[in-house]
Amino acid sequence: MRLWGWACREALQPWRHPTKHMTKYLSPRDIDWTVLLIVLLICGVGVLQIYSATRGTDSPSAWWKQIIYVAGGLFLMWLLMAIDYHSILHYVPVLYIGSVAALVLTYAIGETGYGSKRWIPMGFGVHLQVSEFVKLVIILLVARYLTELRTDELEIREMLKLAGLVLVPTVLVMKQPDLGTSLTYLAVLVAGAFLAGLRWKYVAAIAIITVVVLPISWQFLNEYQKGRIVSFMDPERDPQGKGYQLIQSQIAVGSGGMFGKGVTKGTQTQLRFLPVSYKDFIFSAFAEEHGFVGVTILLSLYFVLVMRIVQNAHTAPDRVGMYLCMGVAALLLFHILVNVGMVAGLMPVTGIPLPFMSFGGSSIWTFFLALGLVNNVRLRRFVN
């Protein structure tokens, strides 16, 4: 036990760095164990649900892979905790340029799946979804940019500069086309701008511009993106086509009733009426098999998770830490709103994963790395 404690402590010690100024030993006691416990619970539910949803399909080993992804995610989180977040922020320009380059590369050589080019083949059957990791870079970028302004109020000029920076990867991802992921970048930007003290008159101005620009941007949406929005408004218009996912998901959720149909008993999930029931629509499969009670419990876990991360933003030692935590909180909240909302028919279909539950290495690692950032900030909250 002592050896384990020592190893944990040693593992958390910051790497040698010229700007290192902290002398305090970092303690694993300071990790946010509540958050970690909740996340592991959610991951466990996710693995169970992936197992149930992929039984008898051509990918029955998905739940196994997911466990490996989660283990890998924990390791990555650990790694990221050890590096002082201030040091990471130094590399934001490099990370940003690297991200844009990687996205361009995806656009050039990416592999197509589900109708869009999102993955870079890494060999050995591993495909990396760059746009997932870019979420972290956006959080870092927004945090550093807003901190360096050194004001309590965000001027519109600065705001536009930042928006310009964020828009480059956003547009690249939108072109894949992957509307959902690109919108997550904007969510982080909006949350950051709000916290940085954007004036209400600017908020109003942006709102008006958005209203004006929306019909124009409609022209730039892809045919399938338009279809998704149209079918969200009226899913019964084409129940076998564009409205299919939305309708089937609502049927799955609704037929789950109060207590659900039981693990591996959901007809919508087991008979494949539910599309991609172990990825984007995993919450729907969960809702069918565990009912309203299960949904309430799981959503409560997510709620506590988001609130804990916001709490960590409160206790952050400095602004940049606060921005980092809030960026992660905003990212999570947006993901939950859009994914779970889509499952319940409250949001249009946008293919973004449910954090810590949906199958997929890139997504799992991104969120564990985000968790690493939060813990990074938390570990150093008593720095002064």
Partner: protein, 635 residues
Amino acid sequence: MTLPPVDSNREHQLSDKPPLRDDTRFAAGKIAVFQYVTVIIFLFLISGFWRLQVQNPEFYGERAQQNSIKSMPIPGPRGRILDRDGRVIVDNHSSFSLLLARESAKDEHLRPIAQGLDLDYGDLLARVQRVRKQPKYVTVTIKDELSPADLAFVDSHHDFFPELVLIQTPRRLYPQNGTLAHVIGYTGEISEQELDAPEFAKYNQGDVVGKFGIEKQYNDTLMGVDGQRQVVVDNRGTVRRTLAIKKAVEGKDLQLTIDLDVQTVAELAMGAKNGSVVALDPRSGEVLAMVSRPTFDPNKFAVRIKTKDWREIADNPEHPMLNRAIQAELAPGSTFKPIVALAGLETGTIDDKWTTRCSGGVALYGRYQRCWEKRGHGTQSLHGGIVHSCDVYFYTLGAKLGIDNLAFYGDLAGFGQITGIDLPHEKSGLMPSEKWKLRTQRTKWYAGETPSVAIGQGALTVTPLQLARAIGGLAVGGKWYQPHMVKKALDQVKVAEWALHPEYVKDVVSGMYGVVNEGGTGVRAALPNLDVCGKTGTAQLASNDYLKASGAGKDMQDNAWFVGFAPRDNPEIVVVALFEHGAHGQFAAAIVRDVIKAHFDKKNRLTQWQQDQTRTVAALGLGLPGGAAAVAPPH
């Protein structure tokens, strides 16, 4: 590498920038707002699940069931149709139909599919276009009755055309070459109009029902009840599990009165001629054979007929779909004369000694009526009048009788009314009378019209079946049994009886015997060792004057009729042959002879076989074992 200081809390004095305000409290209010937003978002999400899972679980539960639980019909096969000896006329066979699953269908595939399956591309395209508006899961049947070559095509192109789906269905197999086509009819998918009609209320869309002939008349007997299999399917329609099975009920077999041996001979005797043959058993009204020409192939209708085939049949000026045996209403010509002769005797207007003199014509009611024999028949009594079919004799007799008496005995023999045979769409023909003329033409009957009715012309029209029934009933002495196609007990057959004087019947029959056996008009119907009686008829379609003036050809040539029965006493079979545009009744007589011969040949064979059996049994001194009694006699 030196990096710009970010966390320059301690260096801000050295910088010229404004001091970094690094307290995190400044955002506390906004973080609180963020927290409220979070609460609202989660409540919003929960409310969505509340609406779906707590308020409407039944609605969605039902839809989930509709998704996964499907009822697949198990077809209940139609009953078979048998002949009077139990031989199968119509059977079912299992066949493959090809469906187009429109979810995965591509328009550019249609042309190669049409080529590969020998389908008309336009037809196929039209069929697919028709359901364009309907949801994608509605399939289109593109071909029924797949041949082995078609099956091979579908099998080998499975990867190219995943939209092709094979299903197995029982199909009707009808006799080839249009044999019995009009009697049996055909089946087809129930149409929209039929579904609206009250008598079809018990059927469902997609049911295959009888559309014509026996198939239509006895649809309820023949039709099975489809069973159902409740299964759990996945999103691709693959059956995962069977929940419940309701067995299909097979339709009942139907035994006809048709004798395939007689029928076959009648079909052959008609050959390619247009017209009809009807053979009845006058002792029961059982229809032994019924032929109508031209005919059609009911197999083409089996479920769905090709547009091209349908046009070919529907646009044919000779109307192959018309069952001439019950639907052709034509002047009977001289075949009507036995009835007139009987009327003369029964009413006491004449006796068998009464004669007229035929000089090739007679002037009646101010009009000169010609006999078909321009040289004249000389003095003719009743016997000679029938044997030589002397028109003058019957003109005079008709004039003496008057239209009322003619109409009475015509009615008695069943003319002008349907026989009530168990086939759909029977026609009634027309027996003219004073009343009829007053009712339809609002003028009184002119006595001058009567003579032409007496020789079977004028407004008088009959169907071949009516004629067979009329002469058959006369020949058995005044019992007209209702003709029927499906076997039933004799006491259940409707019968019209009239106490005819046996002497008078004998007189008429003897005349008809003379027609065939004493050098009359129907010698072609004579058979050795059998007393065949009969009467020819040569019915004009237009007056001779008109024919001369217009110079019309075959289309206006006279219809040839022959009605015959045998034997002379206690007749067993009465046969009517109608040979359209056959020029003279004697040409129809040959057809009747063949049919009668077939009937008696078969009867003799059977008797012979039975005698042989008896002799064998007697010789061996053994009784036949029970099972051997069921051995079918050779046909």
